[in-house]
């Protein structure tokens, strides 16, 4: 199972994330988002944050979670490298994340993502895995 991959969208970037659990889907989505913006290989894990997100439903929660991470990048320069979901309900998520403060002198930066969108958003479950699709505004 590939934890995340991108798919084609003319102007923007689509991101598919998978996991055996819903918690894994959210953490893999974070990893996919970071991978688009900066090479994760060079990231340390010395900044620790608690992140919460709220939304009207689980799929909306994925959008809210990714947008919260984008907020933290702008507000504190923070990019996550490791993630653990500590609480997950239909409309609320809490996670502990460890990562680095992005520094173009130290990191191979890629492209800025403006936001995660609701367009074409999906969150589905097969027998053994969860899969989510989200389109990111570049």
């Amino acid at each position: 199972m590939q934890p995340f991959e991108t798919f084609e969208h003319t102007a923007d970037v689509g991101l598919i994330e998978r996991g055996h659990t819903l918690e894994q889907v959210f953490c893999n989505a974070a990893a996919g988002l970071v991978d688009l913006m900066v090479d994760p290989e060079g990231l340390r894990e010395d900044v620790h944050l608690k992140v919460t997100a709220e939304a009207a439903d689980r799929a909306g929660l994925l959008v809210a979670w990714l947008n919260e991470l984008l907020y933290l990048l702008d507000a504190q320069g923070f990019v996550p490298r490791r993630c653990r979901v500590v609480e997950l309900r239909d409309t609320m998520l809490a996670a502990e994340v460890s990562g680095d403060t992005v520094d173009p002198a130290r990191h191979a930066v890629r492209r800025m993502i403006k936001a995660a969108t609701y367009h074409g958003l999906s969150l589905t479950r097969t027998d053994t895995t969860w899969e989510a699709k989200v389109i990111l505004d570049v």
Partner: protein
Amino acid sequence: MSVDTERQPQGHGSSSLRPLDPYRWEIPSDYKPGMRVPGLVYADAALLSQIQTDQALEQVANVATLPGIVGRSIAMPDIHWGYGFPVGGVAAMRLDDGVVSPGGVGYDINCGVRLLAASLSHEEIAPHLRALADRLFKDVPSGVGTRGRLRLTQSDLDEVLAHGAAWAVARGLGRPEDLARIESEGAIPGAAPDAVSQKARTRGLEQLGTLGSGNHFLEVQRVDEIFDPATAAVFGLRHPGQITVLIHSGSRGLGHQVCDDFLTVCDRALARYHIALPDRQLACVPLAAPEGRSYLAAMAAAANFAFANRQVITHWIREAWDAVLGTRAAPPDLVYDVAHNMAKIEEHTVGAERLRLCVHRKGATRGFPAGHPDVPAPYRGVGHPVFLPGDMGRYSYVLVGTSRAMEETFGSTPHGAGRVRSRGAARRLLRGVDIADALAARGIIVRAASRGLLAEEASEAYKDVADVVRASDGAGLTRRVARLRPVAVIKG
């Protein structure tokens, strides 16, 4: 490791499109249940066949279902598949029973383009161009993880959000005469700083005067050809070879957060206002509702941040100019600054009626013609300039709006080339090609924060903007004034 999968979206068939003339195609209002007005696509046959390869036309039909929409759901020739609204879409709503949609403006509120014109020629600047490109790349922060050079206090930010570009000019970051050459004089009325969330404000504190990344850029150009010398002269474009500078940026993280905040508000309010949508990203609220008024006030504040952002970037450019060229040449003058992601309250004639409407332009430029009272005084005799940035390897255009656009598209015109290849497809096509080297061989200097990803923004990823101009001029929405070619490109 991310891998691109090969997936082609389902396109919109030609059977549902009715040609009105070689540049106008109608999507009848019975194409999709719930459409309140027809769709109208401005394109020639060649552009249309590109447009039909993705879901953009389906999105034009979706927008036609929104409450209060007037006239038609309009698609410009540079339309492409967006999220919710298509990029290159225009929709005007009645104020009493219509809606406003944050997705109809986009995450990058008041993303826009500003053109500066210098006094010197390409020949004169050529020996200094490398030094100027290096200096611009250093002085105008861009790319992931960079901070702006200004540190705003919360009260500074209040002033930026309320007064836009005028804040920067009052701080010495611009010339007083710049303000008359910005759409709405660089400040949208009705902006309410307190409608902007604390999170949005935090994102804005260190980002004023930064370019961003993706398709945002700063380009030093030379005038390649002048098609309408009289109008070009009014715009300060005097002869082929003259140097210009084009800036493409928006409201940065502050604007993205305002959009995100209000999409959540709208998403939750849909049921309360009994609005059913074909796509969740079209989330909207009545213009007359408190949420609608609040969004417009926050959007105006974010738009003002964007005007101030392009103003501060202009100041950094002028400083770099002075540092590199010294007394050889005065820093460039502002030609004009136009938004291409905005919702504006404007008066338009619809049928026999004069109506106040909320005009959404997402990836579309306001292009008001000669004589319109909202065209600033210096340009009232000819209409204000419209800029169509092309890709970094080819050219950009300066156009002017027409009275026909005023009658048909609420005074709206295209905004650029529009993508034709996804980022992944462009990277695959250009695997192994060093884009910066390839452009250097053609006399275009490139400085980029992430050089490896330049392929995503290469010429091959975009439509030829000349095709867009041909369709727009052909339909009578615009008139060509000049073409500009890049000589140095700064990318985030």
